[in-house]
Amino acid sequence: MAILEIKHVSKFFGGLAANSDVSFEINPGMIMGLIGPNGAGKTTLFNCITGYYPPSKGEVIFDGRRMNGLQPDKVCKLGMARTWQKVRPLAKMSVVDNVMVGALCRTNSLKLAREMAMEQVRVVRLEHRSNFLAGGLPIGERKKLEVARVLATQPKLLLLDEVMGGLNPAESEEIIQLILDIRKLGITQMVIEHDMKAIMRISDRIVVLNSGEKLAEGTPDEIVNNPEVVAAYLGSE
């Protein structure tokens, strides 16, 4: 059974359709890539799925449960967590405290939360920074912190919004390894990414959005060879 079903989701802002009639499914354990040119509605779709916007039409079904109208904190508690395109560190708190905030979603004990947090800090390899203020970290480490923090909420499905944006190739490579490590933990992932090489490498399947609509869906090979996708990215004749 699919862990996430998007059924005919549309989101209108006034007369503008940021998403229109998008449908697809994600199976447990897979990595789903979500790509599309700027303004295609990728982040809007994330916001609709995670409760930041209620979808104007359609349904989001997670783990057999209808998610429409649930607040983001409820969504997170049910096991769906997201990161932000523009990183949002809790600047005046230390790295481990940031991750503890995520862990405290699952426990009331600070001691246990600290242990859970340190575990995730090790997963993203930020141990050497654990007592630093989050606001002082360079961008690559902030992105990792973001991932550690959502991992600490013990998600079943992780939505990563451009975790490689603004990183140099070495840092991107680290994130790619991290995403593959997370898959080994059995966590399903949906990844928005602009770096085509990276997304083709890690995704099991890819959905392409263009002007708010689903343009194509398939394996990376199918997507690369799809003339419509090529046209959307490079412009048609």
Binding site: D73, P89, K92, M93, L104, C105, F132, L137
Partner: protein, 386 residues
């Protein structure tokens, strides 16, 4: 590469800090024993009052980042709750005594008598309950708003409360205010205190409340609540996405803060023995409450203490014109010159202006408050040494 952030550790208090804390508390307990001056004791009571207000606001403003500029509403709830009930209860008790005389050998049961009995100090609880209720109402309305809009809404709601109290004169005696001549006896720690003519009982009540607010703040900081409050302050969308219910935790922070603020109001009311809407419900007071934390350093346990230590003496010195007069008396400035005249005659009238300018300077040059400023200097020294 740049040094990424400051090394940061604050898990558990150091033994030295605990010893210092106990020593200071012991000194404060002993203080009235060796300082008899009523003025000095009065200043200490004012310091305690400011600290209680600052610590209370710090929970919603400093830790949770919701700058409420309407805390006078909760302060007023405490003050009015306390005095209204106290007046009514004392009245009842007088009546009760008459009834008791009548009831002797008659069939009026003791049970009936005790049903009439309302302890005068329950007013403090009534004030707390009123503040709690008010905070839940205000929270449910104002927390839909963010940032500056929340600030404006909090001011507006506090003004509504002030105007209501002004006009509900049957209950609150309107603009006339409420006066209380004698305080009813209170039992603290097995001892019954009946003598409120000195400042000593107020000193200890104030000290106790200061310790209570510090304890509450410490408990908040060292629990899930503290982490969630600070996460909301740093980035509420991120906090929301990490499973934190914004409505629940913002309202919790405001409720804790409001109840503690109402205690400050009750304390003020029994100390001054007179309240009216302009003193306990004004916007001035709301701003003052905010300043204590901001000047001291928001989001820290001892910030409000530092803020009170700065602001209370500053306002006393400026108001009594101690500076101007001592300059003239020391012979540095000729009292007949224009400067001397200005110092003795005009400076005291300008105390609010000078107070305002100093506050602006502190906020400009120490954006993290006095405590934050001291910490920064100490951190720099430590880095320089290593």
């Amino acid at each position: 590469m740049n040094h990424p952030g400051i090394l940061h550790n604050r898990h558990g208090a150091s033994p030295l800090a605990i010893i210092a804390f106990i020593a200071i508390v012991a000194l404060l307990i002993a203080f009235p024993g060796f300082v008899e001056s009523p003025y000095a004791r009065h200043i200490m009571v004012l310091l305690f009052l400011s600290t209680i207000m600052g610590e209370s606001w710090n929970i919603i403003g400093g830790y949770t980042g919701q700058y409420s500029v309407g805390h006078a509403a909760y302060f007023g709830a405490g003050a009015y709750g306390t005095l209204i009930v106290m007046n009514a209860a004392q009245f009842d008790q007088d009546k009760l005594l008459e009834l008791k005389d009548l009831a002797q050998d008659s069939h009026l049961s003791a049970l009936l008598l005790s049903a009439h009995y309302l302890h005068p100090w329950t007013g403090v609880l009534v004030g707390m309950l009123a503040a709690l209720t008010l905070s839940l109402i205000i929270g449910s309305i104002c927390f839909r708003l963010r940032g500056p809009y929340f600030v404006l809404a909090s001011i507006a709601v506090a003004e509504i409360v002030r105007i209501s109290v002004l006009n509900l004169s049957d209950l609150t005696q309107g603009a006339e205010g409420i006066l209380i001549s004698d305080l009813p006896p209170i039992i603290i720690g097995g001892r019954t205190i009946t003598d409120f003519s000195t400042k000593v009982p107020f000193y200890y009540i104030g000290l106790g409340l200061v310790l209570l607010t510090i304890l509450v703040t410490w408990l908040v900081q060292n629990s899930k609540l503290g982490y969630f409050f600070q996460a909301i302050r740093e980035d509420q969308d991120a906090a929301h996405s990490l499973g934190i219910s914004l409505t629940f935790y913002k309202n919790s922070a405001l409720a804790i803060s409001a109840v503690l603020t109402s205690l400050a109001g009750s304390f003020y009311a029994i100390y001054i023995k007179f309240i009216d809407p302009t003193t306990v419900l004004s916007l001035d007071l709301s701003v003052q409450i905010v300043l204590i934390s901001i000047i001291g350093g928001i989001g820290t346990i001892y910030g409000p203490v530092v803020g009170a230590l700065v602001l209370v003496p500053l306002s006393e010195i400026l108001r009594s014109n101690y500076l101007g007069e001592s300059l003239v008396n020391s012979g540095l400035v000729n009292p007949d010159s224009a400067v001397g005249n200005f110092l003795t005659e005009n400076l005291s009238h300008a105390h609010v202006l000078i107070y305002g300018i100093l506050v602006v300077l502190v906020i400009l040059f120490m954006p993290e408050g006095v405590l934050g400023f001291i910490r920064k200097i100490m951190a720099k020294k430590r880095l320089g040494r290593s």
